[in-house]
């Protein structure tokens, strides 16, 4: 066996080589839709990471904004200005730049809140499934109560409480934290339930019993033996939850309890533009909306593909 294969290497070079040699990469290259979704997602990530260098204008630089440029339509329409490809809003900000900066905010909050709910959900799910008994019952009842409300309602509730406690109006950083907390805390249940289920299967397997016989402590068994074996589905859920978190953020911002207009996310842009939709300046709300829809669709398609690619029963 060993003789046929090349000497097994170590380190990340080998891991990368294996990845491009593996089933997942193969299935990725066989699906044009997934590749397109991957390209779009990559584009958004790129724009988010390098926004300030890529965007044609800085929409927050008050010195470069003039009211003379306000409410210009997209460049290809009559009265359009080639400097502003997607038009400008009523304060004369370039829509394209605002969307790039907005996606940056949306992705940041999406990622941070998914990481929060992932850590929380995986941790609670592991403990729940491994310990069982009263601990399990308690955690799962809390999860079920939370699951019986729409998650956006839970997020609104947490958001409202936090805003009541903290002075959010005057501190933009706090607004980020409040959004991340409220979205993260409202979405951990999916992770917890999935991880709990897989943990209950894994904990009865003989390799876990073997670790018990060696005398490894329960905490280490959870961390070293069970966790790596239950993480597969978590990756898939995390991808799909990323799309949901971005939508939740947009919803909260649209409802006016998200980020302030001074630091607009895609949701804030849509809300602000919504006021001018019927007075003819449709581009102020339609373009951020389309950008949001495209991002969420791409991430969702990636998540769907990942679910199928990692599911051995569908291969």
């Amino acid at each position: 066996m060993a003789e046929i294969r090349a000497t097994p290497g170590r380190g990340w070079v080998e891991s990368v080589r294996r990845f491009f040699d593996g089933d997942i990469w193969y299935s990725f290259t066989r699906s044009p839709m997934t590749m397109a979704a991957g390209a779009v997602t990559f584009l958004y990530f790129f724009l988010a990471a390098f926004g300030p260098w890529v965007a044609p204008h800085d929409p927050f630089d008050l010195a470069s904004i003039t009211l003379l440029d306000a409410s210009l339509p997209p460049a290809w329409l009559e009265y359009g200005d080639p400097r502003f490809l997607l038009g400008t809003d009523i304060q004369g900000r370039d829509m394209l730049s605002a969307i790039i900066y907005g996606s940056r905010v949306s992705l940041l909050i999406g990622f941070a809140s998914v990481i929060l709910s992932l850590v929380l959900g995986v941790g609670l799910g592991l403990i729940s499934g491994f310990v069982g008994g009263a601990v399990d019952a308690f955690i799962m009842r809390v999860a079920e109560v939370q699951l019986s409300f729409p998650s956006i309602l839970v997020a609104l509730l947490i958001n409202g409480v936090l805003r009541g406690v903290l002075d959010v109006q005057n501190q933009a950083d706090l607004a980020y934290a409040v959004l991340i907390l409220s979205i993260g805390l409202s979405n951990w249940v999916q992770f917890a339930r999935t991880v709990r289920g897989s943990t209950m299967v894994e904990r009865n397997k003989e390799y876990v019993q073997a670790a018990h016989v060696i005398g490894i402590s329960p905490a280490l068994i959870m961390w070293r033996h069970i966790l790596p074996n239950v993480l597969g589905p978590v990756l898939v859920i995390a991808t799909i939850q990323l799309a949901l978190a971005i939508i939740s953020e947009a919803t909260l911002s649209f409802l006016g309890v998200g980020l302030p207009p001074t630091e607009p996310s895609l949701g804030t842009l849509i809300r602000v533009g919504n006021d001018y939709l019927f007075s003819g300046e449709w581009w102020i709300t339609i373009f951020p909306g389309a950008a949001l829809a495209l991002l969420v669709l791409a991430v969702n398609l990636l998540g769907d593909w990942l679910r199928d690619a990692l599911n051995p029963k569908l291969r």
């Binding site: 060993a2 390799y207 670790a211 060696i214 005398g215 402590s217 074996n229």
Partner: protein, 367 residues
């Protein structure tokens, strides 16, 4: 390796207690394990159901001497595996004692158990489930070495893992691979290497060959016999393959519904089975020679251990049962030739001696 082997054999001279008397490697007394399988409390109250207790192991006694192989046989669900898990501490016993080299280990906490664990390891039934699929083989085998601090430094651990892999007839390079790159037999070798890594004296083997291909079973059994000779290991060998048990065990215990019905030296048990259940079991061994011996058809099934029959639990299937068997629980009684049997009929002498049986054929490839 040879040096290490000589050293272990020396160290494994007869175990003696404080008074200088020899003590058994393992002594189990009145061991019981009940499981509560009742419906949830609310359902019980509403549906007026009583608590349901499953008596998986219901009071068994046996001893295993140093360097001995004790076979444990019985139908599925009779409690064999529960006994194995009780001994290695995966379950706490409901009652009774488990003495390893004279020290009671029953119901010890994880910390209290720690010094004894190294000497007591287990080989599992399913080699596809007993190795963590995400770990490399070298990490799997090194886990006990690290846990018990048996080697210091990466180089020493690697060397020890390599030695162990060669002991079970794999190569040191196999340590780099993942479990899915091996066949069932090879995985079971890895599992044995892990069990040996802590240099144990006593191995509990829970049907170590039953998940394997017949052609591989003999290889694993031969390996286990070699290791026993080399390291002076003591085995508790659980199986439902009677021919294998006959050829590998020194003494055999027959379990039925959580109780030991007969314990005897392997040769005695297979030549002159006493308990009606043992006779029934031995009649199920396929016989290629077709000696024309009259066989008892296997009647009935193992009763539900939640609600076992009164008296002797075997009476509904026993052709010799009478009123006493239905009412009174038989106690284990030693017979002259080392056999211990729990049966009213044998005690009263009303069950006729069966014919002396031929030993079961040696499984192909078993040395």
């Amino acid at each position: 390796m040879a040096e290490a082997i000589a050293k272990t054999r020396e160290a494994r001279a007869k175990i003696r207690d404080a008074g200088g008397r020899e003590v058994a490697m393992l002594k189990v007394q009145g061991l019981k394990r009940y499981f509560d399988v009742s419906a949830p409390w609310l359902n019980r109250v509403i549906e007026r159901q009583p608590k349901q207790i499953l008596r998986a192991v219901d009071g068994i006694d046996f001893e295993i001497g140093q360097g001995e192989t004790f076979g444990l046989v019985g139908e599925s669900g009779c409690g064999k595996s529960t006994v194995a898990r009780l001994i290695v501490g995966l379950y706490g016993p409901t009652d009774g004692s488990i003495e390893l080299e004279g020290r009671d280990i029953a119901g010890l906490s994880r910390q209290q158990m720690a010094p004894m664990r190294r000497r007591l390891q287990m080989i599992f039934q399913d080699p596809y489930a007993s190795l963590n699929p995400r770990w490399r083989v070298r990490d799997i085998i090194a886990e006990p070495i690290r846990a018990f601090g048996l080697a210091q430094g990466q180089a020493a651990i690697d060397a020890k893992v390599g030695d162990l892999l060669e002991t079970v007839k794999l190569t040191a390079r196999d340590g780099e691979k993942f479990p899915h790159e091996f066949s069932g037999g090879q995985r079971q070798r890895i599992s044995i290497a892990r069990a040996l890594a802590s240099e144990p004296e006593f191995l509990v083997c829970d049907e170590p060959t039953s998940a394997l291909d017949v052609s591989v079973q003999a290889q694993i059994l031969n390996l286990m016999k070699d290791l026993q000779r080399a390291f002076g290991l003591t085995y508790l060998f659980i199986s439902h393959n009677l021919a294998v048990v006959y050829h590998i065990s020194d003494r055999v215990g027959v379990m039925y519904l959580g109780k030991l019905v007969e314990v005897a030296p392997a040769k005695t048990l297979f030549a002159t089975p006493r308990h009606p259940y043992t006779r029934l079991l031995l009649d199920t061994i396929p016989d290629l020679d077709m000696t024309g011996r009259e066989r008892m058809p296997v009647a009935g099934e193992v009763p539900n251990p939640i609600n076992p029959p009164s008296g002797c639990t075997f009476h509904p299937r026993c052709p010799f049962a009478n009123d006493r068997c239905r009412a009174e629980i038989p106690q284990p009684r030693p017979l002259g030739d080392g056999a211990i049997v729990s049966c009213h009929g044998i005690e009263e002498g009303r069950i006729p001696d069966g014919p002396t049986l031929q030993a079961p054929a040696r499984p192909e490839g078993l040395v």
